[in-house]
């Protein structure tokens, strides 16, 4: 009888223990605070030197380049250069068939000779009329000639004088025509206006080119001085105000992947690239593209650049040394929460007075949008997002409004809101931009290098 009893006791103990464990765990599971834990990476707030850069894309172009277009039309009979060939100033570039222009010169010469003869004839006529007028004038004074005869010769002399003057002008016209014909003939030969390289050759021998003195003719070729190159980059209107002449720039040319070239800003366009275009419609419509300004950056180093190569320029606009900074991705935006009773969220607004006197809302919630620190707004106006960072305090995230200064590609200056040594959340991207809220539980995890690289 003892054996079954002990077995029963053992069963009761084992099953009871299992029951107690299950009940305990179940209660613990029920009363446990349910809250997602977000894995984040953190970094300390430290002093750094920050150089603000403006990044822009564009193309490499020669500082000096000349488009060769003819001023006279005709067939190309000589084209002694190839694309890429070096030429010196005065070297023959193009010869247009001159036959027509030679004929024009000859015609103009003949015209000139004819008008010169006409002038001589008119001069002779004028002299003859002058002599006859003098003789009849003396006879008329001696009352030996009638007044009507005197007047007839006087008029004849005046006419002969006028004809002579006309003939003189005819000679001038003919001379001008001859000069023009000679000039056109001279323009059938085009020489290089500079020492450089034929960077582009559009026409072929035998082709007909069109040219007038009034408008651009066929662009036969481009001659460039490849010793002096510059990057012509487009910069948006927000950033262009930061650009000033003589600022330094780092240039990355796609063709030279592993190198960075130094450059200096030389010119900043005064007008945007699309200014004046599309405004004549009268409808007031604006281009959908961002307004861009061309900035020229002289390349300080010599390399085998070719016109048109793609370039990315990083222009150093501002520099601050030893300033408090955090990773650029740590700064995000959140909307300030509505005051109690004004919306579904009943949290009160906490407004902290920062050291510089500017008010900063400390109670905020996630959103997307552009950043601003203003919190004073008119009634009915939607709240504007403010810039915040999340501090890692133990296993919790604490949201802190900040005022940012300049930034480089990795770090941003914090003017107000943080102290050196504080630990800010620096990743992951999704956590900072969307998930994190004030007082949320966080867990420090390893940096996912692949993700970080991809993000950068």
């Amino acid at each position: 009888m003892a054996k079954p009893k002990s077995k029963r006791r053992r069963r009761i103990i084992v099953l009871g223990a299992i029951g107690v464990v299950l009940a305990g765990l179940t209660l613990a599971a029920i009363f446990r605070k349910r809250e997602p834990v977000i894995t984040v990476q953190t970094e300390k707030v430290t002093h750094r030197n920050i150089t603000e850069i403006v990044v822009a894309n564009g193309r490499i172009q020669p500082v000096l380049q000349v488009k060769i277009s003819p001023e006279v039309s005709g067939e190309l009979i000589e084209l002694p250069v190839r694309e890429g060939q070096r030429v010196n100033k005065g070297d023959l570039l193009v010869k247009i068939k001159p036959d027509t222009y030679i004929a024009n010169v000859k015609s103009a010469e003949a015209q000139y000779m004819s008008s010169a003869s006409g002038k001589d004839l008119a001069e002779a006529s004028m002299k003859k009329a002058g002599l006859e007028f003098k003789r009849h004038e003396e006879l008329f004074r001696g009352k030996l000639d009638s007044e009507s005869t005197f007047l007839e010769f006087k008029t004849g002399y005046d006419v002969a004088k006028a004809q002579f003057e006309s003939a003189v002008h005819q000679v001038d016209v003919a001379r001008a025509s001859l000069d023009r014909a000679k000039e056109e003939l001279a323009k059938t030969t085009i020489s290089s206006p500079l020492d450089g390289t034929v960077s582009k050759l559009n026409s072929r021998l035998g082709e007909r080119v069109v040219g007038t003195a009034m408008m651009t003719g066929t662009e036969i070729m481009i001659v460039s001085d490849l010793n002096e190159m510059e990057a012509r980059v487009d910069i948006g209107e927000i950033d262009v105000v930061l650009i000033k002449p003589n600022q330094k720039a780092r240039l990355e040319v796609d063709a030279f992947r592993d190198r960075k070239f130094k450059g200096t800003v030389t010119e900043i366009a005064n007008s945007s690239k699309d200014s004046g275009l599309g405004s004549g419609g009268g409808g007031g419509g604006q281009s959908q593209e961002a307004t861009k300004f061309e900035v020229r950056i002289r390349v300080d180093e010599k390399e085998n650049f070719r016109p048109g190569m793609s370039v990315t320029a990083e222009i150093e606009t501002r520099y601050r040394s030893n300033v408090l900074s955090v990773p650029i991705q740590s700064v995000t935006t959140r909307l300030p929460r509505e005051p109690a009773g004004k919306g579904p969220n009943t949290n009160t607004v906490t407004v902290a007075e920062n050291t510089s006197g500017a008010a900063m809302a400390a109670d905020v919630y996630p959103t997307s949008g552009t950043a601003t620190n203003k919190t004073d707004r008119k009634a009915g106006e939607p709240p504007k997002p403010i810039e915040v960072v999340f501090l890692a305090t133990g296993d919790q995230a604490k949201m802190v409004p900040v005022k940012r200064g300049i930034a480089d590609d990795a770090y941003v200056e914090i003017v107000d809101g943080l102290k050196e040594g504080e630990e800010v959340v620096s990743g992951g991207y999704k956590a900072i931009s969307r998930e994190l809220e004030d007082s949320m539980k966080i867990k420090k995890g390893a940096v996912d290098k692949d993700k970080e690289k991809e993000k950068k």
Partner: protein, 257 residues
């Protein structure tokens, strides 16, 4: 484990118990249950009911676990990490990885539930038949005693009740600790469990309930084959340890947790 004689006299058959009694006694007095099974006629209920219980518990566990936002987030992070590792290994391209992640994010909840049901069915049926096969083979090849497969199946099925308890305890631990990798195993001493590390997997496989059920299976092997518990335990635990190590080494560490 209790010390029992290697054979039971045929003239003193143990009193038969109900199915519910057997399902509960396998926790407290497994030797009695197996003594009873050895002499009793085979019954499908002895293995089918525990299998159904395991299935039900596994599916419920899956639903409860995935109802936790923190766990759901960990699942997503693990999936994304696995995809990123594939990218790093050059097996898939970053664009494909991005597409996979988007597809995963767009998956409706019923897909995960379906996965839980499949896992429940697999855990119940496959686990039972697998350990029955192991028992049968060890009895036949190692201990040279003819254990009927149906008896091995019944033993394996009843032992799955311990696995069902393991699933319940594990689920509660996961919910309490908010950690998908929480187990009643040596891995509890690892600060940050990394399922890609072999040592962590081996520690995770040393699970209190797996040891318990292996001991119970060893007892069953001893009773059914008529050899001493020590000998049966050496074979059973030897197989268990070897299979754990093998699974971890060949990269199927997920099966040992």
């Amino acid at each position: 484990m209790e010390n029992v004689p290697s054979s039971i006299p045929a003239e003193e058959p143990p009193p038969s118990s109900s199915l519910a009694g057997r399902l509960l006694n396998v926790f407290a007095a497994p030797g009695d249950v197996f003594d009873e099974l050895k002499t009793a006629d085979s019954s499908v209920a002895n293995w089918l009911v525990p299998v159904l219980i395991v299935m039900l518990v596994t599916i419920t566990s899956f639903a409860v676990t995935l109802s936790q936002p923190a766990i759901k987030q960990q699942v997503v992070e693990m999936q994304e990490k696995a995809i990123d590792q594939q990218v790093a290994a050059g097996k898939i391209k970053p664009d494909q990885a991005k597409a996979f992640k988007e597809q995963m994010a767009a998956l409706p909840p019923w897909v995960m539930q379906l996965f839980g049901i499949v896992q429940g069915v697999v855990a119940g049926f496959c686990g039972t038949f697998w350990w029955a096969l192991v028992l049968w083979l060890l009895g036949k090849l190692a201990l040279k005693s003819g254990i009927p497969f149906l008896k091995a199946l019944e033993v394996s099925g009843l032992t799955m009740m311990i696995f069902a308890l393991c699933v319940v305890i594990t689920t509660l631990l996961i919910v309490i600790l908010g950690n998908l990798m929480a187990r009643p195993a040596l891995s509890v001493f690892v600060g940050e469990f990394d399922p890609t590390r072999k040592l962590h997997l081996l520690l995770g496989s040393v699970n209190l309930f797996y040891l318990w059920s292996t001991a119970v299976l060893a007892l069953a092997l001893s009773r059914l084959s008529g050899v001493g518990f020590g000998k049966a335990a050496v074979w059973m635990f030897g197989f268990w340890a070897a299979s754990r190590v093998l699974f971890v080494v060949i990269g199927l560490g997920g099966f040992v947790l």
